[in-house]
């Protein structure tokens, strides 16, 4: 599922890459950018945490030319005059004017590095509103961003992921070059699909998925195997050998009737349990009844 997300076959929406201090998701973000550029899409990058030189180093000069780079690293809070891009410009009106500056009809991808920086300076409800409007409006096909999950409260991360169409959580894998990505995707119909995959990123930013996706919750199987066999370690024998088991099955049980008698009994007859009673004079004797010794 990771490769499908990178190739953009699913139709966009809001994709959040959650990373932590143990493994940075920035290289994965770069591979997304590279794949989008390869597909000849218009890519806008709002770089709050990345310097232009570093980006050039990672992506390569030619890609950088085709990318619409907005330098938000130098002066994000607008302390000097004429800041290139500030964090307060992350509202729908400003973004719309930025994005509609191109007249091509190619799909637009907006990449944000990172959401964590924006969430520190703007209120979460404003950020969520902007993201929702970006998702609904037709200007941007895909919005993609990094979220550092250990920088925020768990609920903040949860609220952001509540809005997202796909959430990718990356963590370090067992080998040094590998990482594990857990993808959760919400389809339009409301169906949720998820996968856990091991991947590695090569030098030219292509992602290789190493193995088959591991289904979620496979760790439970091992816990179940370590069950204790209660028939072991006893002073008496509770197990059956094969011969004994056959003898047990051959044993005729009581109340086991032949097939005809069984079906006869099972058929809902008219009165299978009738009680025939003839009233007897002696049965009417009631010790409690005071009228019994009346002689009339």
């Amino acid at each position: 599922m990771l490769l499908e997300l990178i190739q953009g076959t699913e139709g966009g929406g809001l994709i959040i890459i959650q990373d932590s201090i143990h493994y940075s998701g920035r290289t994965l973000l770069m591979s997304f950018i590279k794949a989008a550029l390869k597909r000849d899409e218009v890519v806008h990058l709002l770089a709050f945490e990345l310097h232009e030189e570093e980006l050039k180093h990672e992506l390569g000069h030619s890609s950088l030319q085709r990318l619409k780079f907005h330098n938000a690293f130098h002066d994000p809070l607008g302390w000097n005059e004429n800041p290139p891009f500030t964090v307060h410009q992350f509202i729908t009106s400003e973004l719309d004017s930025l994005l509609t500056s191109n007249q091509h009809s190619k799909p637009v991808t907006l990449v944000i590095d990172s959401f964590s920086f924006i969430l520190r300076h703007l209120s979460p409800s404003a950020v969520c509103k902007t993201l929702q409007q970006l998702k609904k409006g037709g200007a941007v096909k895909t919005t993609l961003g990094l979220l550092h999950s250990d920088m925020h409260h768990r609920n903040m991360v949860g609220s952001m992921c509540h809005l997202a169409t796909s959430v990718l959580t990356v963590a370090p894998g067992h080998q040094c070059h590998e990482a594990v990505a857990k993808t959760i995707r919400r389809a339009k119909s409301g169906k949720i699909s998820q996968a856990v995959e091991r991947f590695s990123i090569s030098d030219d930013m292509t992602v290789k998925v190493q193995s088959k996706p591991v289904p979620v919750g496979s760790g439970q199987g091992e816990a179940g195997d370590a069950e204790v066999d209660p028939t072991a370690n006893l002073t008496f024998n509770l197990r059956l050998s094969d011969q004994e088991r056959q003898a047990k099955e051959k044993l005729a049980l009581p109340f086991v009737f032949s097939k005809e008698k069984k079906s006869a009994l099972l058929r809902p007859g008219p009165g299978s349990g009738r009680i025939l009673y003839e009233p007897d004079a002696n049965d009417d004797y009631d010790q409690e009844d005071p009228d019994d010794d009346l002689d009339i």
Partner: protein
């Protein structure tokens, strides 16, 4: 066991007998008086849920649904509620901050109008045709073969709600017959509320809009008695999410801590004096503050919580493989009586099938394995939350 089936069948040959009542109860289509306390109740659209909350949702009350993690099943229940309103001819009011209400209304499930979806508890009786198969099924307890299986699906026998087919969408003609009022937050202009009011602008605009609709539609009894009365169904999906401008879900100490609770208080006051019912869903898994969640639950009348297995490690648990999630009943109202009617069973699980949203008692299947290794339910429920301590793994030795 035979009784429920018979009465379901006899509702088809509707007798012409009508009980003559001189009661002052208003007769509105789609409602009936409750058998427990005489309140006027409407169906929630899910018959199992109706049975659980005592026959139906009382008019003038609020049902709170705590959302599951990915908000799939709670949205489904809300859609059932709206679809039921369309079929009964009630008026609808839908307010949303995320998706446009018209989009939500196009996704309502299609009703199954010709026949009630019959789930057959009498499967045993059908098997008489193959004597070999049926008698080998039970070797020792063969006398019980023909008795119906224990009916675990909760259902009452009277035909009050409708059944829906989730795979199909409701026809536009049926949907347009119902009058629907929509409130889409981004389209509402921001009117400033009083500066010191604890309510946020979005919530006060919503409350004002609801009051307006009730007043205009005559649901509060102001209409002349000649006009026939109707019930207003209010649906509020994902209230309290950041899109409403509330940071209750994002922070532990929210800036507007009392906005949502004030809104719920106002909503309940408006509902109590009018013929309306409200169902709202709240993403409670994002609200860490138990006190706030407790307040919100107290301010609503009925409260249930849905917990879906998707994405958690319970998904692969063999005990839960037949179900999609667990349902917890958090609160039931005491309307004009001293005691609530709580459901007997606390362990309920739900399953969304194509033609039905069933809520069943979670019961252990018979253990047919050779080894006596029966995993107890308490161990499972505890182990998921606290992790396997040595106490819970030690219990396995004591299984007989």
């Amino acid at each position: 066991m035979a009784a429920p089936m018979k009465s379901m069948g006899s509702s088809f040959n509707a007798t012409s007998f009508q009980k003559k009542t001189r009661s002052k109860l208003i007769s509105i289509p789609g409602t009936r008086p409750s058998v427990q306390n005489g309140q006027l109740i409407v169906s929630t659209g899910v018959t199992s849920l109706d049975y659980l909350i005592g026959g139906g949702l009382a008019v003038g009350t609020v049902l709170l649904i705590e959302e599951d993690r990915y908000n799939s099943y709670s949205q489904m229940v809300l859609k059932y509620f709206m679809a039921e309103g369309v079929l009964c001819g009630h008026e609808l009011f839908l307010a949303s901050a995320q998706d446009h209400p018209d989009d939500i209304l196009t996704e309502l499930p299609a009703p199954i109008l010709d026949d009630i979806a019959s789930h057959s508890p009498m499967e045993g009786r059908m098997q008489l045709g193959g004597p070999h198969a049926s008698q080998d099924a039970m070797k020792i307890a063969w006398r019980y073969q023909n008795l119906p299986k224990v009916q675990t699906a909760l259902a009452s026998s009277s035909r009050f709600g409708h059944y829906y087919d989730v795979s199909k969408k409701m026809e536009p003609e049926i949907r347009q017959a119902a009058n629907c009022h929509a409130f889409y937050l981004p389209e509402h202009s921001a009117e400033s509320s009083a500066p010191h009011s604890p309510l946020l602008e979005s919530y006060s605009a919503l409350l004002r809009s609801i009051q307006e609709v009730i007043r205009k539609g005559g649901f509060d009894g102001a209409a002349p008695p000649a006009k026939s009365r109707n019930v207003l169904r209010i649906g509020l999906p994902s209230l309290g999410s950041p899109l409403w401008g509330d940071d209750l879900c994002c922070r532990d100490n929210p800036a507007h801590g009392h906005a949502l609770t004030t809104f719920l208080y106002g909503l309940r006051a408006v509902l109590r004096s009018s013929l309306s019912v409200a169902v709202l869903t709240i993403p409670s898994h994002l609200i860490q503050n138990r006190a706030v969640m407790g307040n919100i639950t107290r301010l609503c009348d009925n409260a249930i919580a849905l917990e879906s297995f998707k994405g958690s490690d319970r998904e692969t648990n063999p005990l839960y493989k037949d179900y999609h999630g667990l349902l917890h009943v958090r609160q039931m109202p005491r309307l004009n009586c001293l005691l609530t009617e709580l459901p007997d069973h606390k362990d309920l699980a739900f399953k969304l099938k194509r033609k039905q949203f069933t809520i069943e008692r979670l019961h252990l299947p018979p253990d047919l394995s050779e080894t006596v290794s029966r995993v107890s339910r308490g161990e499972l429920a505890g182990a998921a939350a606290t992790g396997t301590s040595c106490g819970s793994s030690g219990n396995k030795h004591l299984d007989f």
